[in-house]
Symmetry: D2
Subunit: 371 residues, 4 copies
Amino acid sequence: MGGSSFGTVFKVTTWGESHGRAVGAVIDGCPAGLFLDMDFIRDYMERRAPGGGKYATPRKERDIVEIYSGIFDGMTTGCSIQMVVANNNQDSGAYSEIRDKFRPGHADYGYFKKYGIRDYRGGGRSSGRETAARVAAGAVAALILKELGVELVSYVRSIGGIEIPPPNYGVISNADARLNELNMPDDVAYRAASAYLSGLMEKKDSAGGVVECVARGLKAGLGDPVFDKLDAALARAVFSIGAVKAVEIGAGTAAAKTTGSKNNDQFFARDAGGAGKRSNHAGGITGGISDGAPIIVRASFKPTPSIARPQETVNTSFNNVTIAVEGRHDTVIAPRAVVVVEAMVAIVLLDAVLKGVTSKMDNLRKAYANL
Amino acid sequence: MGGSSFGTVFKVTTWGESHGRAVGAVIDGCPAGLFLDMDFIRDYMERRAPGGGKYATPRKERDIVEIYSGIFDGMTTGCSIQMVVANNNQDSGAYSEIRDKFRPGHADYGYFKKYGIRDYRGGGRSSGRETAARVAAGAVAALILKELGVELVSYVRSIGGIEIPPPNYGVISNADARLNELNMPDDVAYRAASAYLSGLMEKKDSAGGVVECVARGLKAGLGDPVFDKLDAALARAVFSIGAVKAVEIGAGTAAAKTTGSKNNDQFFARDAGGAGKRSNHAGGITGGISDGAPIIVRASFKPTPSIARPQETVNTSFNNVTIAVEGRHDTVIAPRAVVVVEAMVAIVLLDAVLKGVTSKMDNLRKAYANL
Amino acid sequence: MGGSSFGTVFKVTTWGESHGRAVGAVIDGCPAGLFLDMDFIRDYMERRAPGGGKYATPRKERDIVEIYSGIFDGMTTGCSIQMVVANNNQDSGAYSEIRDKFRPGHADYGYFKKYGIRDYRGGGRSSGRETAARVAAGAVAALILKELGVELVSYVRSIGGIEIPPPNYGVISNADARLNELNMPDDVAYRAASAYLSGLMEKKDSAGGVVECVARGLKAGLGDPVFDKLDAALARAVFSIGAVKAVEIGAGTAAAKTTGSKNNDQFFARDAGGAGKRSNHAGGITGGISDGAPIIVRASFKPTPSIARPQETVNTSFNNVTIAVEGRHDTVIAPRAVVVVEAMVAIVLLDAVLKGVTSKMDNLRKAYANL
Amino acid sequence: MGGSSFGTVFKVTTWGESHGRAVGAVIDGCPAGLFLDMDFIRDYMERRAPGGGKYATPRKERDIVEIYSGIFDGMTTGCSIQMVVANNNQDSGAYSEIRDKFRPGHADYGYFKKYGIRDYRGGGRSSGRETAARVAAGAVAALILKELGVELVSYVRSIGGIEIPPPNYGVISNADARLNELNMPDDVAYRAASAYLSGLMEKKDSAGGVVECVARGLKAGLGDPVFDKLDAALARAVFSIGAVKAVEIGAGTAAAKTTGSKNNDQFFARDAGGAGKRSNHAGGITGGISDGAPIIVRASFKPTPSIARPQETVNTSFNNVTIAVEGRHDTVIAPRAVVVVEAMVAIVLLDAVLKGVTSKMDNLRKAYANL
């Protein structure tokens, strides 16, 4: 029940703490015969890496993924893949202040109540460092999706209240997002957000933001009914990233304010086997099943809880104390979380594909004949 | 992979279609020795029942839950509990129009692409009728939570743009919500929403809305790290209800617009073993673990997709056609979904409790000694 | 954790007690578009039905399977299938003696210690009656396997020490087994076993027996490494049938007494893509993966624990008492268990097929293209 | 679906190949606050280590377990524990002969059919080397069981046809087993088995054997009904060890040859809350639930398939060829498998304990109150 496993066919189990020896992921259920393109994985890891700009933690870690098992001659063997990312740059000393105090907005208090013991160094298991393992595993999922023609794009939609113009979901690319270190694919918004963050840094404060991920090219008919709806799986996956406080699909919260006649996506005939839609308020998922339109997922991240301002809290003896969380912290989480959201979306979509190929007897017959 | 199972210790599997013989749920993993209070379950079912007002479908079904297994002398035996809710009032004739056409905003097209075949009568498995099974199972979870001192409250927070004033999460009750058929615990908002819905009905249109659920009295330290965070589990559970397009915990999307100094919930010492919080922007969950404050979950429901206005769509031969979805439909889904959200929250929280009792060796030793 | 679910893709959840209203199974994950041949299912149920001979319980129940959900126009829809088998012939009165006493060899004591409460009528959930649900679900699995070219054959290999001659696994059929009510496909053994059972009946005693199941035509390369080996899955499945005390694959216990040079199955080239084996001591599974030879599973059933002789036991107040288990009981379990073993084998093999179709990237690409 | 995960609450995921960098296990769901006694783990690893005698592979590897995550100050934190065992002594060169040939009795052919690609060096993932990870994880489970008063004992019951006298299950100890390198707790049998193995070594042949594991002190009432019976879980776990061809509980196959009056274990009153049994043919499990008597599990291992004699086989081009499997191989697997069986039994029993503590409402109430 540890909570560190995810997925049903493509199953990911992560491990590791912020200041332990390493973090990593075991992938079980990866199809055999995939050339494991380490450049592709490296690129994913670099999108998550800190140090990209002045609003991110200066902790400099080149996150090298080492593969301990599951590949042979550069190809996946179908057996469990162990991916290890060493922790090279941790600085335990800086965390001594928080040893006995619960940081507001952090998991400290909950972990203490749950486990009685906690690795207080940098948040231990609850640290954002844990997401390096997700990104490594998600890169493998994304690599397979790419081979199947599914493209993933992710970026910062807003920081504080500063939002980019509504993107064109059909053409926006990761290259657009990577033009600046905030991963905001709009220069005006980027400049405004930069100024906003500079002001907050001076005030030892932090900002929240919204990350959006688009998946293009996924076939219609994926996802399972009832409890394993594709949107439900995506919501769980993205909400499992620390600091997420809301997940929206397509129109999201705005859907609650509009009317059926405006919100329904009307169909038109595209070809003999498929329908197009005149709009995509559904974000590519209706009734929990993909409809062939781009999948649109949006996650609201709360402001970085680690701030250097004094805050009230209690210590492990349950006395009132004051805390100022010094150290290396991102002023805003969203830009570095972009690729984490994408990684989780990749894992969910690949799992839906792997689960979906036998939903019809006809497909099962053909697939079995191919064995 | 059918998607019809949910939960790990308290496991619920549902079955049934809108116009089949019945819908139902099997609960596996319910502790033995629970007096299965059928009045409590009946009350849950009645909160979901249609016919409560002029904005709900006139389909009149008294949803009687029959228990086929798993109880003996009124007590749970620990074995799987089969709960059956007959479909008494279905009217297949009214659905003949949609046999060959995909209704916009519905699961029809996705199911067709996924399965090649679909029970078109009333949406079949994708019908809101399926939620009767969830409510039956959720009532059992809620009954156990009640015995443990956890109280669940749910209501409509808004319809269209019309919102109730921010509720006092410490005192709001289900009785407040049930004062009117829209389950809006505020008379002014209720009247405005009624007028809004009446206008939409005339225009053969429909409205969206937001449901909020509060859980009070849950201990701190529940939920699992990483992928099984309590908020991730809640998000999946609530997103698995048809028509949900966003799930928020606590401050939700607003968290992305504020700053760390405002958003962090500061702690104060309450007693020798616990901390209180000066605010609850986290909605009772930090780092995926409960912190002892009320759990606050919010779900945005899109407008009812079934509207009697003509809409463009395609048929199963992939020709362009027009459709007007006549029949008995709720003008707004949210009021009847209130108890569905509550049921799903109950299942998630109970599961977290059942998983949480052995998170510490000390607790395991005591629990084993008690066997 | 109720234990009533089985399978990962083709998932079966059973419910029901011996003397409740019904027993049944929910299948989740059945591919859509299967014509659900009710004659095929009926035939399976009849193979399990009591009353076939003088050594079986006279409890006469025609086990009619009713489908409550998951089919439409006779075809599976891909949604959860609820199968209900009513309990028509239970006789609660006959069980009053065992209300407060633990029957030796039965689950009574364990259930009492585990749950504190138990449905003592006929063993409740631990009754062999529960297997009716397995057979119903297993029939569906067997139906799909049949479409894929996999044939299942099952029979009684021995009763007491009386064994049939080693069968020819390539040709033995269910018709051979059904020639007599003991399901022993050998007339000499059948007569000897009949005489043996008659003697035991007079002495109010019971016999054990061995059931063997053969699966022919399964492709090589199915089953998963390490913990989900095909033999491990079969062992769990068959051991989950009450009264089983041993499961063997291929040579089974005899393998421990021989040498490598005798036990190894040597290969020969059969065609461009496959190897044949000169022997099949492995029972069709090597390293947990199918090798294309017939799968051979053997289960040892203990003697029926219900015997009318007086036995020592304790009651629920933990006093020493004597018990004589009167009532309608099979003198030997194995003949009626034949189809139960087959049902469990069918579920396991189908699950392995469904899991196996995406083990290679090549297969995944083709399967996805087919969607 | 990779098959490398096991357990529901105490969940173990293994990874690694014979000739890769390392093998290892991730434990998820281990209670927090356990002092992780590395001496205890080291002792487990040494019981599996090769080189203990002349019948074992001379591959000398000191299997040092390194903990990468999940402990802090020597205590478990409740988070996922990564255990790594480096492969220091692999010798890839010796395996070049088997690169293109399928070894009879090995997983080679099945893996080739399943995955299209295989790590042929030493069997890769299907190698017995993989069990080092199981033993590391099982040692943690055994450590917790020890704290709860459950004692595990394992030994070789027979080699070839040479069997030790029936052990006294109440007193036999691991010290008895470790008196000789065959782990046979009887000197006469040990000498006979030694002579038998010496003869086989000369003939370049190998032997099978039987391992028995006894668990004493487990409370009654553990295990789940129907599919998750304790014996079913044990059977799967033990059958998942390579080379196992049969699993028996208690009387095992002998139960099928006896009568109910002899096989039933009669009860007697022991104290106010528990019953004793006059015999233990059930091996401590009735109806899938523990009854408080020692759990007895027996596994039949086939002879080591790697033999240096020439055998017929085919190569990856599906031509007939001859193979002689040279290299470092155990003449008999059973002695080194003793601790692997024990490790798997430990994991299953601990999982049953963790799942069992909330089977009654009374226990749930107390356990929740303790949080």
